[in-house]
Amino acid sequence: MNQRASKIPPAAVAGLIVAVVLDTLVQIAWKRSVAGIPEAASVAVTMRVVLGSPYFYAAMLAFGAQLYNWLRVLALADLSFAQPFTALSYIAVLAISHRALHEDLSLAKAAGVALILAGVFLISRTPFHTAAPRQNAVKPSPP
C-alpha cells in the first residue's frame, strides 16, 4: 500500500498544497467581503456592499487561480482522493482567525484539528487514481 501511495506524481502533491493555500485565501477574502452586512439586509444592499469591497475582488482573483490549479490536480488524481485534502484549509482558516482574535485553542478544537489531519492522512494512504480495468477484462473502445 505504501508503494502505491508513494507513486503520487510530484505535480499532484504540489497542486494539492497550492489548492489548500488558495482555498484558504478565497475563504478569508470572501468572509471579509461579506463581514459587517446586517442579517436583515436585502439582496440589493448585500450585492452593493459585496461589490464595493476590495476583498471581493481578491476573492475572485484567488478563485480564478484556484479553478485553474484544481483542474490540473483533477486531471491527475481521483476526485474522491483530491477533494478531502481541501479540509486542510479549514485548519488554516481556524488558525488564522484564532490568531486574529487572540483566542486560546480549546480542547475540542484541538481534537477536531487532529481528527481532520488523521482523516487526510488516511486518504493520502489510498491509491490516488483508480486504475482502468485490465484490457482483457473490458475491451476499450477505439479512440
Binding site: L79, F81, P84, P127
Partner: protein
C-alpha cells in the same frame, strides 16, 4: 418555516450543488475519461451527449457560484457551529458521486478518512 430549518435546508442544498460542481469539474478536467469512468464519464465521452470539457468546466463554475450564494444565505440563518459541520457533508457527497457516477474506487480507508474529517469539523465548530 423557522429560520433555523430554512438554514439547514439551504446548507444541504449547497452541499448537493457543490458535490455536483466538483463532479462536473472532474469530468471537464479529465478530458477523455477512460472506459471505467462510470456513467457520467461515458456520457461526457459518448457520441450522444458529447459535451466538450469546457462545457463541463463552465457548468461546474456556475454550480459553484450557486453554492456560494446558498451557503452565504444559510450562514445568515444558522450558527457557524451548525452550518460548518453540515457543510462538510460535501465530502460524503463527493465520495458517493465519485463512486456512483465516475466509478472511482472508494475503499474502506478512504471512507474512514472522510468520517474522521466530518467528526473533526464537528469538533472544530464546538
Amino acid at each position: 418555516m423557522t429560520p433555523k430549518s430554512a438554514g439547514i435546508l439551504l446548507v444541504l442544498a449547497a452541499v448537493i450543488v457543490e458535490s455536483f460542481a466538483q463532479l462536473s469539474l472532474k469530468v471537464g478536467a479529465s478530458g477523455r475519461p477512460g472506459p471505467a469512468a462510470g456513467l457520467l464519464g461515458r456520457l461526457a465521452a459518448g457520441r450522444r451527449a458529447g459535451f466538450p470539457p469546457a462545457a463541463w468546466i463552465a457548468a461546474g463554475v456556475a454550480l459553484y457560484v450557486i453554492e456560494i450564494v446558498l451557503y452565504t444565505l444559510a450562514l445568515h440563518r444558522l450558527e457557524v457551529s451548525v452550518a460548518f459541520p453540515l457543510g462538510s457533508l460535501c465530502f460524503v457527497g463527493v465520495a458517493l458521486l465519485s463512486r456512483l457516477l465516475l466509478a472511482e474506487r472508494v475503499g474502506t480507508v478512504r471512507w474512514l478518512g472522510v468520517c474522521c474529517i466530518i467528526v473533526g469539523t464537528v469538533f472544530t465548530a464546538l
